[in-house]
């Protein structure tokens, strides 16, 4: 089936490896992703003030464009998913706001479309068993800590992504590609989001440090996430967390694409750098 792909700003800039590995994983699994012709930044955060209607214009336009093109949307950035899905819910349920958006954007759209995360497609459409069958490399039981953070899961009644207190989708995907998902308590906790960017105080990002330590203490060898902001904050922990406790941070699609046969370089795996330990364990280069 063909889907409209919404990469989001970060995947076109800092997180290119996330973009490349997402496209390649989808291709390997028979999911056709076609990037929307024109799209704007979703706004990164869903506006929580009821009168901040203007902030909904960009995600509304993307949703309307996909509907116009007759495709359902797919994204992998947790921020984009959160904003797009919540905007769609709002457009479906709040007539007043929808009317304002329709007038402003001049697109007649009432929330008929759908927004998917690639992981949801793997779970609900492809099936993790089928993903498993199509792997070309074994991840050799690499101990990976799946990190959900906030945006995929909450608010639970709007995101309906997975059980917000005990999500399993990343675990099941990782197990399917031959990794060993590590359970640790802070996998649904906040990474500190934009707090460190604003530098409100000379405070360290203790939230991200706690997450890193929690994953590390559980015996993980790497963390995977679906959020560039989470990835950034976790990487920034290096200044506060001793090297031994500091884990490499990867996008879920990097390990997925690697398992599906994409070469390590295209996957953004660096055998000589941050990912040395990971690469050694999974034996970079060998294809079954």
């Amino acid at each position: 089936m063909k889907y409209g792909y919404y990469p989001g700003c970060t995947l076109h800039q800092q997180a290119e490896e996330f973009d490349v590995t997402t496209r390649e994983s989808a291709r390997a699994l028979g999911i056709e992703l076609e990037e929307l012709d024109s799209w704007q930044c979703c706004g990164a955060v869903f506006p929580l003030a009821t009168d901040a209607v203007i902030n909904l214009a960009a995600p509304f336009r993307a949703l309307a464009a996909a509907y116009e093109a007759g495709v359902e949307l797919v994204t992998v950035c947790a921020g984009c998913l959160n904003v797009l899905r919540r905007t769609n819910n709002l457009v479906q349920n709040d007539d007043e706001t929808r009317d304002k958006l329709v007038d402003f954007v001049e697109e007649d759209y009432a929330g008929e479309g759908r927004v998917h995360h690639l992981l949801e497609l793997l779970r609900d459409e492809v099936g993790f068993e089928s993903v498993s069958e199509r792997t070309k490399r074994d991840l050799n039981g690499l101990r990976i800590a799946p990190y959900y953070g906030c945006l995929l899961l909450r608010p639970p009644d709007e995101m309906e992504f997975d059980d917000a207190e005990d999500p399993q989708i990343l675990e099941n995907m990782l197990a399917g590609i031959g990794a060993h998902p590590v359970s640790y308590p802070l996998r649904m906790d906040c990474c500190g989001a934009y707090l460190p960017i604003g530098e409100l105080e000379e405070r360290r990002n203790r939230a991200a440090v706690a997450v890193m330590r929690s994953a590390s203490a559980a015996g993980a060898e790497a963390i995977v996430t679906s959020c560039p902001l989470c990835a950034h904050n976790l990487e920034q922990c290096a200044q506060d967390v001793p090297g031994a406790e500091m884990l490499p941070v990867l996008y879920f699609s990097q390990v997925l694409a690697y398992a599906l046969g994409l070469d390590a370089d295209s996957c953004g795996l660096e055998p000589d750098g941050l990912h040395a330990g990971v690469c050694e364990k999974i034996g970079i280069g060998e294809v079954k």
Binding site: D163, A164, E165, D166, P185
Partner: protein, 666 residues
Amino acid sequence: MRKIGVFVCHCGLNIAGTVDVKRVAERCAEIPGVVHSEDYSYMCSDPGQNLIAEAIEEKDLEGIVVAACSPTMHEPTFRAAAEAAGLNPYQVQMANIREQCSWVHPDDEEEATRKAEGIVGAAVEKVRRDEPLVPHEIPITKKAMVVGGGITGMQAALDIADAGYPVILVEREATIGGRMAQLSETFPTLDCASCILTPKMAEVGRHPLIELMAYSEVEEVSGSVGNFRVRVRQKPTYVDWDACMGCMQCQQQCPSEVESEFERGLGTKKAIGVDFPQAIPNRPKIDPEHCAHLRGDFCWLCSRSCPVDAIDYEQEERIVEEEVGAIVLSTGYDMLPQEVLGEYGYGKYPDVIDSMAFERMKSSSGPTGGEIRRPSDGEIPKEVVFIQCAGSRDPDKGQSYCSKICCMYTAKHATLYHHSVPDGQAYIFYTDVRAGGKGYEEFVQRTVEEDNALYLRGRVSRVYPEGDKILVKGVDTLSDENVEIHADLVVLATAVTPRTDAREMARIFNVGTDEHGFLNEAHIKLRPVETTTPGVYVAGAVRGPRDISDAAAEASGAASKVAMLLSREEMETDPLIAEVDEGDCSGCLWCVAACPFDAIEEKYLTRRVGDREVSRRVVEVNVGVCQGCGACTVACRDGAMNLKGYKDEQILAEVESICLIAGSQQ
């Protein structure tokens, strides 16, 4: 034309605050046939009733309308007042201008007043066509049924039986005792639950007037107050209980050990046996899901060990029909399903348990022999966190109500814990301590002062394992500090919930439920153990969360209501029932199909025409069974079926009146 009186009640400001009651009374006086119309502050009061009586006597009224509240509460009041003054009580009509008018239109006096005029005017048209009616007398079956054999049902059954009436006690499980049988000690006296419960169980078991139907469920109820017919399904126990002597050899021999629901997952049971040694009846049953033989394996151990050959693998369920005059429902409560509060890891981490599991742990016949031990490793916990309101007062994910009993049993748990582990520390997260009850607040204070429990005002957001401890992340809003406790054991005071099949039971007994599934009483304050179905009573936690004292009190209350009913030889039935005009009836039997109470039967009218006998089919209404629902009158194609007091012509007259008044108001 019949002489009609209209009495408009202010109900203080409940009606008069919105409706112009004087105008309503004046307008009604203009209706032809209305010879008396007045308003008064409280018609239901003695002076109000006297006004009605005087008017009836002085003006020879042949029908009255009382424009006041819903008939639920005061229709009997006004009927009685009218009857005392010489008017037939069925020539009294309530016009509800409170619930259906003033309360729902508080902001529009003009509209509300006009609507009230319409309601009262219609009632006048109805009552002028009301015929005097006389109740029927039917005999009463002097026997009661109590459904649910926990402490409430046992108490009710004993009280009814002690009053001299036979009782059938139906219990779903194989033993009576209910939730109380699972408890260790009870608040506020710390009486051992078994010590006060088991003698009562034994009394129930040997009472000559109590017939115990254990491992049975009610399937269907028909009939009505005084004469219910109840179908009870006796589930197969695979043991001939009449032959069995209760030696429990079978239980000892059985090789299949499974998790015990009675022990809240902390202990095991055999596939044959009793939940606890004091079970009444003291007879084992086979759990077919886990019995090796019944699952097709080669095992006859119980059968071989039985000295009286009572094991019967072929036993099948039996349906029994019983006739009773009154029914008490006392099926108790369940607890919140564990998956609701994922943040507490209940069901996921073994050292997070619920309060009922703690009760089992403290019970001397429980899985740890009364010692408090961590389920994970059997160690004695030194830091124990109790979390109250786990799913209570939580309209978002749990139950919106306060579960009422948790404050007290948690204080009890902390006290018992301190007695067992004097060097341990109990922490209690609470939202508000609700300790209204005799000796309750004093008990809580002792828990703090003498038993060293630390009360923390606030909730816990998350619980997860850290090393071999359980990290509890909570808040103490009194100090405005977040609190972290590395606990050995976490006990959740999970919400009391209705039985999962409560709504189905309510349907069987024709009783209402609230939005949660607890059974509704007829009036929450003044008729707490009655229901809107006469002859069916409710008591205990089936109505909502209750402690043992309240449940026992309600049980005795329901029992006395039952005794009142059964003490009469005959009872009057409401004459507002269906009536067939045999002349118009074509015998099509559509009414028979429409009747939900099986109250209509066919019969044949025979007469001689010349030298031939001609027979014609018509129907007949059973006055003891008909509930006056009116379904048959709608189904009847011939217009032969009518509901007394609600004849077609009366209803059409009401509608016409409303149309005329509405038309004239425009």
